[in-house]
Subunit: 232 residues, 2 copies
Amino acid sequence: MLQDTHFPKPVVAVDLVIFTVIDTTLKVFLIQRDSAPFDGLPCLPGGFVRTGEEGEGVEEAAWRVLQQKTQLPLEALYLEQLYTFGALDRDPRDRVISVSYLALIRQDLARYIPQDYRFQGQWYDVDSILQSPSISLAFDHHTIISYGYSRIAGKLEYTPIAFSLVPHTFTVSELRAIHEAIKGTSYDPSNFRRRFKRQLEDGVIVVADGKRITGARPAKVYRFLPATTGRE
Amino acid sequence: MLQDTHFPKPVVAVDLVIFTVIDTTLKVFLIQRDSAPFDGLPCLPGGFVRTGEEGEGVEEAAWRVLQQKTQLPLEALYLEQLYTFGALDRDPRDRVISVSYLALIRQDLARYIPQDYRFQGQWYDVDSILQSPSISLAFDHHTIISYGYSRIAGKLEYTPIAFSLVPHTFTVSELRAIHEAIKGTSYDPSNFRRRFKRQLEDGVIVVADGKRITGARPAKVYRFLPATTGRE
DNA sequence: TCAATAGTGTCTTTCAGACAGTATATA
DNA sequence: TATATACTGTCTGAAAGACACTATTGA
């Protein structure tokens, strides 16, 4: 009905900024392009939103691409819409509007992502990527990653987003390492522990069974308690 | 090149959540639909993103629609992308993906918007809209307005977004009234003034000429100093 | 016993909320 | 002179940054 010639339609795609923390460093998952344009350059994993008979919602498309690339159970993954990039010239071939998403993978699961074949993707240092010139990435993907980084760094302060990067159970130090990897600074262990304890009192975190032997003295293990639906 | 049958394309639209404050109340600008579906129901002003020969960027489309509806100079308007809504069934006619935007109009300019003819749009109480059932608005526009409200209420605390709603010069009370209209609560005048003064010390606000006679004692007038490009 | 990490306690500053009180205009 | 609004000052408690200190393990 709306499908008349008055509105020639753009292509709509999703692009994923997938972050994880490996060895105390924030990483982003990128694919290597194997054709023009930007042949050989790294780019974000993405795909077109399916329409027509086998149509899907935009978020659905993002989940599908995420699942394709990671092969991990959806429960262990975090996904959130970032921003929609719709400049006229962002794809030299055709008009493509990209809805970008931020995805997080727990550090204990990140290594299970297949990355033997480099076109399948591999983990890059976010720091290096952001410092490199934007033309070292395909399309406007440098901008998108930069946007994704701002989002996670910002949300870190006032949301439980970091819990999507630690294993199911974790120690105070492990959580702190995540924060340090993202912000690129070191936190005072004592002050970090105090904030941690407040979350424990507030019921955001609960004590888990067992202890974790990391180096010297074994540490208490905790678990994140997802928002009980009673909250506003 | 990408335009082959593998990717039938959705329609891409922009929808605008235009807020202002009138008489200490937060208002949203809505149009009345005059055809099916949702005939007669209020809906957000919006339009399709132009593609093809006379194509435009998505943000460009948002500015265009904003200009069309308000007829106000762009410098006096604030526009920011909100969220992209892309559920399969959000438009009963066809597949439409909507990129929503938050727009703010200064309270002294809001009354210049043409609203004599009701299909041209009129101001609604945001509070009433949010409390009414979502089916009293066309499409998923209740959700979009709710999203827009959350955005502005959140950003109010830690960004200079409120300055886009006051006149070019303003008093402490006027700015406080904006905050109160958005949050729906009253602020302690003394404490609000303290935060205000800090922004004055930080150079975010500067003293303007003259005084404003509102009721009893005339108040000092201030002006917002937009971020100097020297900032990070 | 030493090194390393886990964990506790304290001092200081900053800032928000509550609220008492003073100043200056209009009616 | 009354009163409404503008504006100042103070008390309290929550929370962050800096940092000294104790505890418990493995090597």
